[in-house]
Amino acid sequence: MSAQTPSTLAQRSGSANPQQPKWTSTGGSAPSTGAVVRATLLIAGAILVVTPVLWAAMSSFKTQAELAQTPPTLWPNHPTADNYTSGLQAFDFVHFLTNSIIVTVSATVLTLIINSMAAYALSKYNFRGRTVLFLITLSTIMIPLQVILLPVYQVIASFGMVNSLWGLIIPPAATPTGVFLLRQYMLSLPDEMIEAARIDGAGEFKIFLRIILPLSRPALAVVAIFSVIWRWNDFLWPLIVAQDESVQTLPVAIARFASQQAIPFNQILAVSVVTILPIIVIFLFLQRHIIAGLAQGSIK
């Protein structure tokens, strides 16, 4: 650690100064030792991080005999797609994927609607109880679903929402983080616009819909990214609510599939690879936005 940080800084101040040679692999000047050490460490670390995933993907193409073979092989000797065909026969991927998509999309849309409405009221209106409502919202950040698992389950049970997609969608929708992020953003929007629209005779809801929402698009995008990642990966809550296979989402279904002793491990790996692919494809398209959005959201 301590050996690494100084060289990092040397490189930083080096690149800020145009007189200093910049590191280019084909350029005439040699790269500084610090830069070489840093690049080596970064690449080695990246390989360490990625390898288990690639290895698991490789293993999903091996036969069961090859998986149990000693000494084990790294690359599949006779790549086979059997694990995929038989894995996807035992595991109704499309069904669980559909459930996951329905839950993720509806919960995110619901979150965006109710969070932005609440954020608008809390940022742009003066009304009795505003401070109290805002403080209540903030304090619920400290009460995650995991801590109130049992009492929330009792509430949805009394509403008959166990084993229904509504039970997965509604309870986690009112995220305090979303209200907070959107409120901070809306505070920065000028009040004059709202006043001008009122003078022109626009109704309160119309102002929200036509002026506030379009202007809040960057903050809405951040909340949407968070919501999609949370809902897509949600496990504990769906594990409790979706006891029936017909409403299970991908994480719950995979965990259940993986816990069956009779299913060979390379089939489980094959199914896992199939579930990772859509997310990685989406990420590759939106990498810049997602990373910027996550960083922005966490700091605030």
Binding site: M1, Q4, T5, P6, T8, L9, R12, S13, A16, A39, L42, I43, A46, V50, P52, V53, S59, L74, I114, M117, A121, Y125, F127, R130, L133, I136, T140, M142, I143, P144, Q146, V147, I148, L149, L150, P151, V152, Q154, V155, P171, A174, P176, V179, R198, G203, F205, N233, F235, L236, L239, P251, I254, S259, F265, L269, I276, I280, Q287, A295, I299
Partner: protein, 303 residues
């Protein structure tokens, strides 16, 4: 007055236009869901911790019985110990590695996009699948890690089956999941630091290490606090990847508090009393730790 009168005459719409009711209607849906699915259950959960039930239908009041039971339950203390060790190891490891990674990535120019994507990959994978992948990779005989270790003559440790190693494996996998996310947060903190400060320090003859210690780390402190608080909360709530990685085993060596609550509340034999008391204790601990972190962060910021 003459402006107000026609507005009032328009009834409901007029009232909306008069901005009296509108804010309440705007907050209503969100607050309704908060109320029904967070605030009411939170109070009810506290209340529930003074009752016991083995079927979820009939409850009998037991006073503070659940708390005295749980505090004398050796399984609970084992779970507390694992959870605290896991959280400590996870917070320290992911903060230190995250900072190192952020400092290095932030000054790397060539190949930065590809490197960031590689470190961010685990964040994208559902934790349940992460558990499955690492269960395969850490398998004693067929796993990737031991294939490499035994090839270089380091034997084949039982990462997931040896109870002295399994918690370490869980800490390492937890760090693997979150590292890229924390690095992204820390990089945005680093980029907010004014680069002219480094120039000034260099001109004043400050050594590189002095700049890191006196400029980077103090100015990064608010961001570090965010990461430490996020990691602490994530640590106490870890469940999903452990569920598929070790299932809490071997012999309960990696059973953390959320799994303890889940099992007492939802799998046989059901002990609602213990689950509720554990949930209240978890809430108090997480609240206290977050508050202390926050207070320390605030105090050092003001210095």
């Amino acid at each position: 007055m003459s402006v107000m009168a026609p507005a009032r005459a328009r009834g409901f719409r007029g009232w909306m236009r008069g901005k009296n009711l509108a804010p309440y209607l705007f907050v209503l849906p969100n607050m309704l869901i908060f109320g029904v699915f967070t605030i009411w259950p939170a109070f009810n959960g506290f209340n529930l911790s003074f009752y016991d039930s083995s079927n979820g239908r009939t409850y009998r009041p037991v006073g503070t019985g659940n708390y005295t039971n749980i505090l004398s339950d050796s399984q609970f203390w084992g779970v507390v110990q694992h959870t605290v060790l896991f959280t400590l190891g996870f917070v320290v490891l992911s903060t230190v590695l995250g900072t190192a990674l952020a400092l290095m990535l932030n000054s790397q120019r060539r190949g930065r996009g590809a490197l960031s994507a590689a470190y961010f990959l685990p964040v994208l994978i559902s934790p349940v699948v992460v558990g499955i992948i690492w269960k395969a990779a850490l398998d004693r005989t067929t796993g990737l890690v031991n294939q490499v270790l035994s090839a270089i003559g380091l034997g084949s440790p039982g990462w997931l089956v040896d109870s002295s190693l399994s918690l370490i494996s869980v800490i390492l996998v937890g760090t693997w999941i979150h590292l890229g996310f924390y690095a992204v947060i820390l990089i945005s903190g680093l980029q907010a630091i004014d680069t002219s400060l480094y120039e000034a320090a260099r001109m004043d003859g400050a050594s590189v290490w002095q700049s890191v210690r006196l400029i980077t780390l103090p100015l990064l402190r608010p961001t570090l606090m965010v990461v430490i608080i996020l990691a602490t909360i994530a640590g106490f709530q870890a469940f999903d990847f452990v569920y598929t990685l070790t299932g809490g085993g071997p012999v309960g060596a990696t059973t953390l508090i959320i799994q303890y609550i889940y099992e007492n509340a939802f799998s046989y034999p059901i002990q609602y009393g213990l689950a509720s008391a554990a949930a209240v204790i978890l809430f108090v601990v997480v609240f206290a730790v977050t508050f202390i972190n926050y207070a320390i962060g605030r105090r050092s910021e003001s210095i």
